[in-house]
C-alpha cells in the first residue's frame, strides 16, 4: 500500500574501471589478479617525491564513455584532490575531479513506459578518478593487510540524476549502462571483478511532491539484482519509518544480501570533509574541440541505434533484438550472417539457436568461433534452396564446427544433399509401409493424422535426405 502513498526516488553513482593497460597516473599494469603489491611503483605507492602523470588512453576511454552517454565534454576539466586518511589510500588523497568534471549533462533511454514513450535517465556528470587499494581484514588475525595493485587504476564515476522511480528501472538503467559501455569497449564492466560498482541514493516522497525527501546512500551491492533488492528493502524501511512518525536520517547503509536488509555503515558519510582543492601536480586537462569531434565520430554504433536499424533492415521484433544485442559481438556476427544470406529471420534463428548453444557448451568466444559468418550464410542458403533439409542442416553445422570445412563440402562428403528424386523416395515410402504394417493399414484406411508419423519414419530412413514435401505428396497419393 505504501506504493500509492510514497514514490521511490533513486539516483545511482556507478564507478567503472577503464580498460587501460596501465594505471591512471603511472606505468604500472592495471591487470586484475596479480599477487599482492606486485603492480606498484614509487608513484602508486606514494613514495616521497613521486609525481602523477596522466594516462592519455584513460582520457580517451573516459571521453568515449561520456560521449556514448550523450554528455557534453568540457573542453577544460580539472583534477582535484579528495583528502582523507585510510591505509589503502597511499597518498592520503584520491586524485579525482570535483567542480570541473570531464563531462556533464547526458541521458540514456532505458525502455518505454505504458504509453510507449522512452523512459530516460539523466546523467549529471562523468568524471575521472583513480581507484584506491584493497584492505584485507580477515586474512591475518589482529592485522589488516594492504594490497596496492588496484591503487591508481583509472575509473570513471557516472552520476545519474534522481530520475529513477522503481527498482526495476534501476536494474534496467544498469543493464543499459553496462551494454553501452560494452559497445564502447571502454571497460570489462564486471561486477564480480569489481570493474563496475554501484552506490545508490534513495529517498521517498508523496506522489506529486517536487521537493526531494532526505536520502540515504546504500552501498555494498554485488550484482544488479542485489541493487534492486536493496532498493526495495530501503524503500520499505523509509516508508515504514515515515508511517510510524519517524524521520529519515541522512546516512550510509550497507546492503546485507544474506539477510536481505540494510544496516548502517560504521563510517558516517557527511561527517567527512574531503577538503577538495585543485591537484597542483597535474595541469588542467584541455581537450581540443577537433579531437573531441573525432572521438565522437569514431564511436561505434550504440545499442539503441543498432536496434532501430536492425528492426528496419531485418524485420526482427523488439524482444528478439534485445536478446541479440545483449552481446555486441554476437550482434556483429548475426549481422554478417544476415547480410550475406539476406535472411534476417533465418540468421536470427541460427545464431540464437545452434550458434549460441555451441558457444555455451564450448565456453567459446564468438570472435574465435570456428564457423565464420560467411560459412553459416552458405549453410542457410543451402537449406533455403532445398539443397539440404533443415534436419540435415543441423548435422552439417555440427560437422562444420568439428572439421572447419565449408557447408557445401560437408553436405556432399556426408551424402546429406537432399534427395528430390521421386523414385528413390518411393522406394523409402514403400519400405516404411512394409515395415510398419499396422500404421500403414490404419493410414490407408483414412486415419490422416498418422501421415506425420510416417513422414518421420521416411526421413529417418533417408537419414534426413528425403525432401519432406515430396514424401508428403507421395503418401497422400497412396492414401488416394
Amino acid at each position: 500500500m505504501s506504493r500509492e502513498r510514497y514514490e521511490m526516488v533513486v539516483g545511482l553513482e556507478v564507478h567503472v574501471q577503464l580498460k587501460t593497460r596501465t594505471k591512471a597516473f603511472c606505468a604500472c599494469s592495471a591487470d586484475f589478479g596479480a599477487p599482492p603489491n606486485v603492480n606498484t611503483c614509487p608513484v602508486c605507492l606514494a613514495l616521497p617525491g613521486a609525481l602523477p602523470v596522466l594516462n592519455e588512453h584513460a582520457v580517451e576511454l573516459a571521453t568515449r564513455a561520456a560521449l556514448g552517454l550523450g554528455c557534453q565534454i568540457n573542453p577544460i576539466s580539472v583534477f582535484a584532490r579528495k583528502n582523507y586518511f585510510y591505509p589503502d589510500l597511499p597518498k592520503g588523497y584520491q586524485i579525482s575531479q570535483f567542480d570541473q568534471p570531464l563531462a556533464t549533462g547526458g541521458a540514456v533511454a532505458i525502455g518505454k513506459d505504458e504509453r510507449g514513450t522512452d523512459i530516460r535517465v539523466g546523467i549529471t556528470r562523468v568524471h575521472m578518478e583513480e581507484d584506491a587499494g584493497k584492505s584485507i581484514h580477515d586474512r591475518y588475525p589482529g592485522a589488516t593487510a594492504i594490497d596496492l595493485n588496484r591503487a591508481g587504476v583509472p575509473l570513471i564515476e557516472i552520476v545519474s540524476e534522481p530520475d529513477i522511480r522503481t527498482s526495476a528501472d534501476a536494474g534496467a538503467y544498469l543493464r543499459t549502462l553496462k551494454q553501452i559501455l560494452q559497445y564502447l569497449d571502454v571497460s570489462d564492466v564486471s561486477m564480480e571483478e569489481g570493474s563496475l560498482r554501484v552506490d545508490a541514493n534513495i529517498s521517498v516522497r508523496p506522489p506529486g511532491q517536487t521537493k526531494l525527501g532526505t536520502k540515504t546512500e546504500v552501498k555494498n551491492m554485488n550484482s544488479f539484482s542485489a541493487v534492486e533488492r536493496a532498493l526495495e528493502a530501503e524503500y520499505d524501511r523509509q516508508c515504514a519509518l515515515i508511517d510510524s512518525g519517524g524521520r529519515v536520517e541522512q546516512q550510509t547503509l550497507l546492503w546485507d544480501g544474506g539477510r536481505g536488509t540494510v544496516r548502517p555503515s560504521r563510517t558516517k558519510e557527511g561527517s567527512h570533509d574531503y577538503r577538495y582543492f585543485p591537484e597542483p601536480d597535474l595541469r588542467p586537462l584541455i581537450l581540443d574541440s577537433k579531437w573531441i569531434e573525432d572521438t565522437r565520430h569514431d564511436l561505434p554504433e550504440l545499442p539503441d541505434a543498432r536496434k532501430k536499424r536492425l528492426a528496419l533492415e531485418y524485420g526482427l521484433s523488439s524482444a528478439e533484438l534485445d536478446q541479440l544485442l545483449a552481446s555486441p559481438d554476437l550482434a556483429e556476427y548475426f549481422e554478417a550472417v544476415a547480410r550475406e544470406s539476406k535472411d534476417g529471420k533465418g540468421s536470427y534463428n541460427w545464431v540464437m539457436g545452434e550458434v549460441s548453444a555451441a558457444l555455451r557448451s564450448s565456453d567459446n568466444d564468438i570472435r574465435q568461433f570456428r564457423v565464420r559468418p560467411a560459412d553459416l550464410a552458405q549453410l542457410l542458403n543451402l537449406v533455403r534452396d532445398g539443397t539440404i533439409s533443415h534436419t540435415a542442416g543441423k548435422r552439417v553445422f555440427a560437422l562444420m564446427l568439428e572439421t572447419g570445412k565449408p557447408a557445401a563440402q560437408v553436405a556432399s562428403d556426408e551424402g546429406l544433399l537432399q534427395v528430390g528424386d521421386q523414385d528413390a523416395i518411393a522406394v523409402w515410402v514403400d519400405e516404411v509401409l512394409t515395415e510398419h504394417p499396422d500404421e500403414a493399414k490404419r493410414y490407408l484406411a483414412g486415419e490422416k493424422k498418422l501421415q506425420g508419423v510416417l513422414v518421420g519414419f521416411v526421413m529417418k530412413k533417408s537419414k534426413g535426405r528425403a525432401d519432406p514435401k515430396r514424401v508428403n505428396q507421395l503418401l497422400s497419393a497412396r492414401a488416394g
Binding site: 613514495l47 586518511f85 592520503g92 601536480d281 584541455i286
Partner: protein, 518 residues
C-alpha cells in the same frame, strides 16, 4: 693542485681540469671531504651535512674515471662535487627532509635533477641539512639540529636550503642543489654570500623533490659564482615526462661568460595546461649578451620601503649605479600587490602542504609509532612524534583553510590574489622592462635563536616569495656586506627568461668584483 685551490675554483675550471687529465675526480672528491673536515662541517660544528659517505663517493669517482678513460662525453660537470638538499631523492644516501618521520629513509629512486647531474659527470658527495620539509628560513627547524653560517657561526645560514648554501660558502662544493617554495635558495644564498637561483616554475623537473607546496616548489641551484649557478642549472633544466608541470621549452645555454655562443631561439612554454594537439608560439630572440646596453632594469618601489636597512639600501644603489654605467636604463616601477604576498603564501603553501604530507602516515615507510589502540591512534602518534612544531603548525593551518566553509574565504581568495601578483609582474615585463632588481632580504643573517615568533620569521621571505607565487625566475647575487655579514641583490625576469637574468647577474658580479664581499 692542492686543497686550497679547490675551495676557490669554480665548477667550469674543475670540470675542464678533470677532462684534460690535469686533476683526477678522486683528488677533487678527497679535497672536498678534507675541506669539510678542516672547516668543521660535521654535526658538532657547522652541521652542514646530514648524510655523506666518503667511501661511496670514492666508488663513484672510479665510475667516472672509466667514463673519462673511454672518452665518452662526460658532460659539463665532469668531476665536480655537488651537495644535494636532503629533500631531493638520491640513490645511495638517505633522503630525510630534515625530519624525524623519515629518519633513515633511503629512496629507491632518484630525482631527475640528480640523475641529470650525474649524467653530466657531477659527483654527489652529500645530502645537506635543511628546515624540516623545507618549512623555515633559518635551518633551525631541522630535526637534526641547526646549520651554522660559515661567515659567523653564531648566525643562521638562512633557510630552508641552509645546508646547501653553507656547503658552497664553506668552499666544500662549488655547486649545491637546494629547493624553493618561497625563497629557500635565494635567502640562504644571500645570508651566506653565495649565488642562489630559483628558475621559472616548470624549468626543472620536480620528480624526486619531496613536495611541500607543489604549485610553488622548484629545485634551485646554489653556486660559488654566477657561472657555477648557470652551469648547474643548465645541467638539470628541461622537460621531464615524469613531471607534468615541467615545461618542454628549450633550454638555452645560460653561460654568458662562455660567450660567442648565441642563445638558441627559445620556444614559448606551455604554461597553461596539458594540451592534446597544441602548437608552440615562438619567443623573440634574446638581446645581445655582451653588454647591458638596451637593457631596462625596473626598480620596484614596494621592495625599497622606508623601513629597509639603510646599509642594504646603499648596497642596492651601488649595484644600480653599476648597471647604469654598463649602459642599462633604470626605471622606477611598481608591483602594487606584492605586499599581499606573505599572507597569500601562508594560505596556499600550508594548504598544499597539509595534503602533500598526508602520505607520511606510518603505513608504508618512515616512522611508525603504534600505541596498539587502533588505526587512528597510530596515525596520531606517528605524525605528532614524527613532525616538528613548524610542520605541525602548517599542516593545521592548511587543513583549516581548506575546510568546508573556509575554502572560499581563504584558499580561493588567496588564489585570486596570487593571479593579481603574477599580473603585476606581467605588466612590468610587457612594458619594456627586461629585469627587476631588488634586495634579496630585508636584513642580513640573524643569530641562532634570535627569532622565535613564526610571523617575524615569515617576513624574511618578503622580497623573495613573490617570484614563487608568480612563477618567474630570480637569482640572488652577493652585493656587499652589512656589519660583516653578506647581503644579496635579487634579479627577477619574465617566465623562462633565465637567459636575461643570468646576463644581468654576470654583469653585476663582474662589475662589483671584490666589492661584492665588502
Amino acid at each position: 693542485m692542492n686543497v686550497g685551490d679547490f675551495t676557490r675554483l669554480g665548477a667550469a675550471a674543475i670540470s675542464s681540469s678533470v677532462r684534460s687529465g690535469e686533476t683526477t675526480p678522486t683528488e677533487v672528491v678527497r679535497a672536498a671531504f678534507e675541506r669539510a673536515r678542516d672547516i668543521g662541517a660535521g654535526a658538532d660544528g657547522l652541521n652542514i651535512f646530514l648524510h655523506s659517505d666518503e667511501d661511496a663517493s670514492a666508488e663513484e669517482t672510479r665510475g667516472l674515471r672509466k667514463r673519462l678513460d673511454s672518452a665518452t662525453d662526460v658532460g659539463i660537470l665532469a668531476g665536480v662535487p655537488v651537495a644535494i638538499k636532503d629533500n631531493i631523492a638520491s640513490l645511495g644516501l638517505p633522503t630525510t627532509c630534515g625530519s624525524r618521520i623519515l629518519a633513515g629513509y633511503v629512496s629507491p629512486f632518484e630525482a631527475t635533477a640528480v640523475t641529470r647531474l650525474r649524467a653530466n659527470g657531477a659527483l654527489i658527495i652529500a645530502k645537506t641539512n635543511m628546515d624540516e620539509f623545507a618549512m623555515g628560513s633559518s635551518t633551525e627547524n631541522s630535526a637534526f639540529g641547526p646549520t651554522r653560517n660559515p661567515h659567523d657561526v653564531r648566525c643562521v645560514p638562512g633557510g630552508s636550503s641552509g645546508g646547501s648554501a653553507a656547503a658552497v660558502a664553506a668552499g666544500i662544493t662549488p655547486i649545491a642543489l637546494g629547493s624553493e617554495t618561497g625563497g629557500s635558495v635565494r635567502q640562504p644564498a644571500a645570508f651566506c654570500g653565495v649565488v642562489g637561483v630559483k628558475p621559472t616554475y616548470g624549468r626543472v623537473s620536480r620528480y624526486g623533490l619531496v613536495a611541500f607546496a607543489s604549485s610553488l616548489d622548484q629545485i634551485g641551484v646554489v653556486g660559488r659564482t654566477v657561472d657555477d649557478a648557470a652551469l648547474g642549472l643548465e645541467a638539470i633544466a628541461g622537460f621531464d615526462k615524469m613531471d607534468s608541470t615541467s615545461s618542454d621549452a628549450d633550454v638555452p645555454i645560460y653561460r654568458v661568460s662562455a660567450l660567442g655562443k648565441p642563445a638558441p631561439e627559445a620556444r614559448a612554454p606551455d604554461t597553461e595546461a596539458m594540451r592534446i594537439g597544441r602548437s608552440p608560439i615562438p619567443l623573440p630572440p634574446p638581446p645581445d649578451a655582451t653588454t647591458l646596453k638596451g637593457i631596462v632594469i625596473g626598480k620596484p618601489k614596494e621592495y625599497f620601503p622606508d623601513s629597509l636597512d639603510p646599509a642594504i639600501k646603499a648596497h642596492c644603489e651601488r649595484a644600480l649605479d653599476h648597471f647604469r654605467s654598463m649602459g642599462a636604463t633604470i626605471r622606477d616601477v611598481s608591483l602594487p600587490r606584492s605586499p599581499l604576498a606573505i599572507p597569500v603564501y601562508y594560505i596556499l603553501a600550508p594548504a598544499e602542504a597539509s595534503s602533500n604530507l598526508a602520505r607520511f602516515d606510518g603505513v608504508r615507510y618512515g616512522l611508525r609509532v603504534d600505541p596498539g589502540s587502533g588505526l587512528k591512534a597510530m596515525y596520531g602518534a606517528t605524525r605528532s612524534q614524527g613532525f616538528g612544531p613548524e610542520v605541525t603548525r602548517r599542516i593545521l593551518l592548511g587543513t583549516y583553510v581548506l575546510s568546508a566553509g573556509y575554502y572560499d574565504a581563504y584558499y580561493k581568495k588567496a588564489q585570486a590574489v596570487r593571479t593579481l601578483i603574477a599580473d603585476d609582474f606581467r605588466s612590468v615585463f610587457t612594458s619594456g622592462v627586461h629585469a627587476i632588481f631588488t634586495p634579496t632580504t630585508p636584513t642580513p643573517a640573524f643569530p641562532v635563536g634570535a627569532i622565535s615568533d613564526p610571523y617575524e620569521m615569515y617576513l624574511n621571505d618578503i622580497f623573495t616569495v613573490t617570484a614563487n607565487l608568480a612563477g618567474v625566475p630570480a637569482i640572488s647575487v652577493p652585493i656587499g656586506r652589512v656589519r660583516r655579514l653578506p647581503v644579496g641583490g635579487q634579479i627577477i625576469t619574465a617566465h623562462f627568461d633565465e637567459y636575461t637574468m643570468f646576463r644581468v647577474a654576470y654583469a653585476l658580479e663582474a662589475a662589483l668584483g671584490a666589492e661584492a664581499h665588502q
